[in-house]
């Protein structure tokens, strides 16, 4: 241990013999660290956005359907005894929230304009624990009340098509489960904008009770959405739900929406490729520095060998120098990277002057890039830096160890 410590001390001091060179190398490495941290943070920010839009504001983590529902989306493929099942699921510790939904297509009309809409009947109190829909209401309106009062919340696109605003009255016409056509008079209490293009264009929210009145299906729902307290609890949540739900179809959000999952995987993969390139490029500089550092000390290393220092220890010494280098670069780069990340997380990178908001994968993204700082991200960068530095140090270290003392000391 004592020896390891002294080797580290030697490695550290060797680094500072050539201050200018060390400074230059550290600068390059720190730039790499900062760049990597920013890329990861923005990537995580986008992931958080996507996750928020798709999962937190709609899907939930786990969904339960009647086995035939996903294919046809038929009104009749509903889950029976929904209340009892929901109560059972709520009693499971793994679930932070459980909510049942009924879906129906209707023609909604306001004044002389009408459009097709996809109605979602929800229990507002339960839904608040599962999704963040209630936070997506635009100013001037409000979410549904806890009890059924004939309220409807329109998607922003749908509201625009109908020319409707909060306070307006709407007529909804739909086919009930017994085949008859029903109509209802509702008033608009709010307008939502989730960021999912399709949902905003044709979706609307009503109270479960109000929708049951329109289309029947009392005591039944089409979909039960569950949410776990943390992202890493999703799989156990699904397992528990499967056990409780008997023969019903239980899926995680990835299975329900593979396209979004695919998008995020692609985004993730791109990020790793980017990081790989950054580190590879930094590796060249590190290699050169350490190689130069070793070669200019040929005579000295020869002397050490003559004095009895084993090749293994020489390797260790060079590696210690590499560790010191990585440590300095970390100390220089991480605070700067963190500062930049936190600034980006707070203020976002406002690119709206150059690009307007854009759509990708059916989701609307704002052109203000927001970063998300996660300790895992920082940890990954630091680990990567140390790994790259140590790998780059292998060749110089081995070269140093292979010197024959006699030859080395003869060199000028």
């Amino acid at each position: 241990m004592e020896q390891a410590w002294s080797l580290l001390r030697i490695g550290w001091r060797n680094l500072w013999r050539q201050k200018r060179r060390t400074f230059g190398t550290v600068l390059a490495m720190a730039t790499g660290v900062v760049a990597s941290m920013v890329v990861i943070a923005i990537s995580d920010g986008i992931f958080a956005d996507v996750f928020d839009i798709v999962v937190r504001a709609g899907l939930g983590h786990v969904q339960i359907h009647a086995p035939g529902y996903p294919a046809e989306r038929s009104l009749h493929e509903a889950i029976d005894d929904a209340d009892a099942l929901i109560a059972r699921l709520e009693s499971q510790a793994a679930a932070a929230g459980v909510s049942g939904r009924v879906y129906a297509d209707a023609l909604v009309g306001s004044g002389d304009r009408s459009a097709g809409a996809r109605l979602t009947g929800i229990d507002p109190a339960r839904e608040k624990r599962v999704t963040t829909l209630h936070e997506k209401i635009l100013a001037g309106g409000s979410f549904l009340s806890a009890s059924a009062q004939g309220e409807i919340v329109l998607g922003a696109g749908l509201a625009e098509t109908l020319g409707a605003k909060p306070g307006d009255e709407l007529v909804a016409v739909a086919q009930a489960d017994d085949g008859s056509t029903g109509s209802a008079l509702w008033h608009v209490c709010g307008i939502f904008k989730t960021g999912q293009v399709m949902t905003d264009r044709s979706g609307a929210l009503v109270h479960l009770g109000d929708l049951h009145k329109l289309v029947g299906l009392e005591g039944r729902v089409h979909e039960i959405a569950l949410v776990a307290p943390r992202r890493d609890g999703i799989d156990s949540l699904a397992a528990g739900a499967r056990a409780a739900a008997g023969g019903l179809l239980v899926r995680t959000w990835r299975q329900v929406n593979p396209v979004i999952a695919g998008m995020m995987d692609l985004q993730n993969a791109s990020m790793w490729i980017v990081l790989g390139c950054v580190f590879l490029v930094a590796a060249f500089g590190i290699l050169n520095t350490l190689l130069m550092s070793v070669l200019e000390r040929t005579r000295e290393l020869g002397t050490l060998g003559a004095l009895g220092m084993s090749p293994a220890r020489v390797v260790a010494m060079v590696l210690c120098e590499a560790i010191s280098l990585a440590a300095v670069a970390t100390a220089a780069g991480v605070p700067a990277g963190l500062a930049l990340d936190l600034w980006l997380a707070r203020h976002g990178l406002d690119l709206s002057a150059f690009f307007p908001d854009y759509t990708w994968g059916g989701l609307a993204f704002s052109s203000v890039l927001r970063a998300e700082v996660r300790p895992e991200g920082v940890g990954a960068v630091v680990a990567g830096l140390f790994a790259v530095t140590l790998l780059s140090a292998l060749w110089p270290a081995v070269r140093a160890a292979r010197l024959r003392p006699v030859d080395a000391m003869r060199q000028e």
Partner: protein
């Protein structure tokens, strides 16, 4: 002259003297350039595919529309006497495919329900040459001559429970009245983009014109060129041909601003990243050059003592950096071209990374298999920029070398 040859000789020999170091530094630069070339090729290839797709689906490389329609999208704003306009555009752009279209919104109803849709009235024969839809039919066939045929998206068909031959009622606003017509489903398409598959349908252009009482007018006359590169010239040609008619003539960048923005955004992101990468490489080069100068302080001092002008010493250091840059640029070009070869023939399949599903951006499908496209002038710019940046890395160390004082150098070590 001899002096220049001496400096050049010394520069190249100095590089060779530290072969390994020069090689490592040069490799970093070469790697950066090769990576830049491949990224740009793949990016350009992907964007071209997207642009082709988007332009086919929703516009043309050059479009002619009524003034103001691009902004307001009012169906009443029409290009009158469409046949004449089509002929004029065909004359101005020989070799281009010209298609007339009518765009409007309506409500499509079947026994199972109704849905709001975006409709396109198309000239079946002309459209088939340009549109991707005929290739994406999953049931039935492309529009034939029948005036009441309609094509619907697969999701829309499922929602309204439509099959081939199903009857649907289309309601649309004609001035202040609602008009409705009966159509029969002739085909069902799937593009893989929800917006299109769930919300769009196509009918014969004559039926659209009748429904909306447009007479011989259309919403848009779109021209399709062989390659995107000719857009600017083509736009100008059509603008000249239609001068004085009061019609808007737009290139695809103005007609599909979202797509254009997406491409610009994506490209900018890639270049921003490459810039950061290059900065890291250049810091490394500068570092190496500074070190090589510091190592030779005594040698430089001697030369200054002998009477070598300081400016020449700076030139020597810059020459070394330039030689390194030149070699690395050439190596990078070679490596880049080598990598671009498979990228541009076989292409890269992102499906493995993305888990297989089709993806979309700015309303256009992104194919998972991207075939790269090397734009020659861009490669030239990259090579030049790489060389310039490498030389620039040496400027400060060279200046330092020129400022050395012989006395200090000679006492060194």
């Amino acid at each position: 002259m001899d002096e220049a040859r001496l400096l050049l000789g010394m520069a190249s020999r100095n590089l060779r003297r530290h072969q390994r170091r020069s090689l490592i530094s040069g490799s970093a630069v070469a790697f950066g350039l090769a990576l830049l070339m491949v990224s740009a090729a793949l990016g350009d290839g992907a964007h071209e595919q997207m642009i082709e797709s988007g332009v086919r689906m929703m516009a043309g490389h050059v479009v002619v529309q009524a003034r103001g329609w691009q902004r307001t999208r009012e169906p009443a704003l029409a290009v009158h006497d469409a046949d004449a306009v089509v002929r004029i555009v065909e004359a101005a752009l020989p070799g281009a495919d010209v298609v007339p279209r009518v765009f409007f919104h309506g409500l499509l109803s079947s026994a199972a329900g109704s849905a709001g849709v975006g409709l396109t009235g198309v000239d079946a024969a002309r459209e088939a040459r340009v549109s991707e839809t005929p290739a994406r039919m999953v049931e039935g066939a492309w529009l034939d001559g029948s005036p009441d045929g309609i094509l619907v998206g697969a999701t829309l068909a499922r929602t309204l429970k439509l099959k081939i031959g199903s009857k649907v009622v289309l309601m649309a606003q004609r001035r202040s009245e609602i008009e409705s017509r009966l159509f029969r489903v002739r085909g069902i398409f799937r593009h893989g983009i929800e917006e299109i598959d769930a919300f769009s349908a196509q009918i014969p252009i004559v039926a659209a014109q009748n429904l909306l009482d447009l007479g011989g007018g259309v919403t848009q006359v779109a021209a399709h060129l062989r390659t995107e590169a000719g857009t600017a010239d083509a736009t100008r040609a059509v603008q000249d041909a239609l001068a004085g008619t009061g019609l808007d003539v737009l290139g695809w960048r103005d007609a599909l601003p979202d797509l254009h923005q997406w491409v610009v955004f994506d490209e900018a992101g890639m270049y921003a990243f490459m810039l950061v990468l290059f900065v890291i490489v250049m810091i490394g080069i500068a570092n190496t050059v500074v070190m090589s100068v510091m190592e030779r302080v005594r040698e430089f001092g001697t030369m200054l003592a002998l009477g070598l002008a300081p400016g020449r010493l700076r030139a020597l250091v810059l020459l070394e950096t330039a030689l390194l840059g030149a070699g690395a640029t050439v190596a990078g070009l070679a490596a880049g071209l080598l990598l671009c070869w498979p990228a541009c023939t076989v292409g890269v399949d992102y499906a493995a990374l993305a888990g297989g599903a089709a993806m979309e951006a700015a309303g256009v499908a992104m194919q998972t298999r991207v075939v790269g496209h090397v734009v020659v002038w861009k490669v030239g710019v990259f090579a030049l920029a790489t060389f310039a940046m490498t030389v620039a890395s040496g400027v400060l160390p060279a200046r330092r070398a020129a400022r050395l004082r012989p006395v200090e150098c000679l006492q060194h070590r």
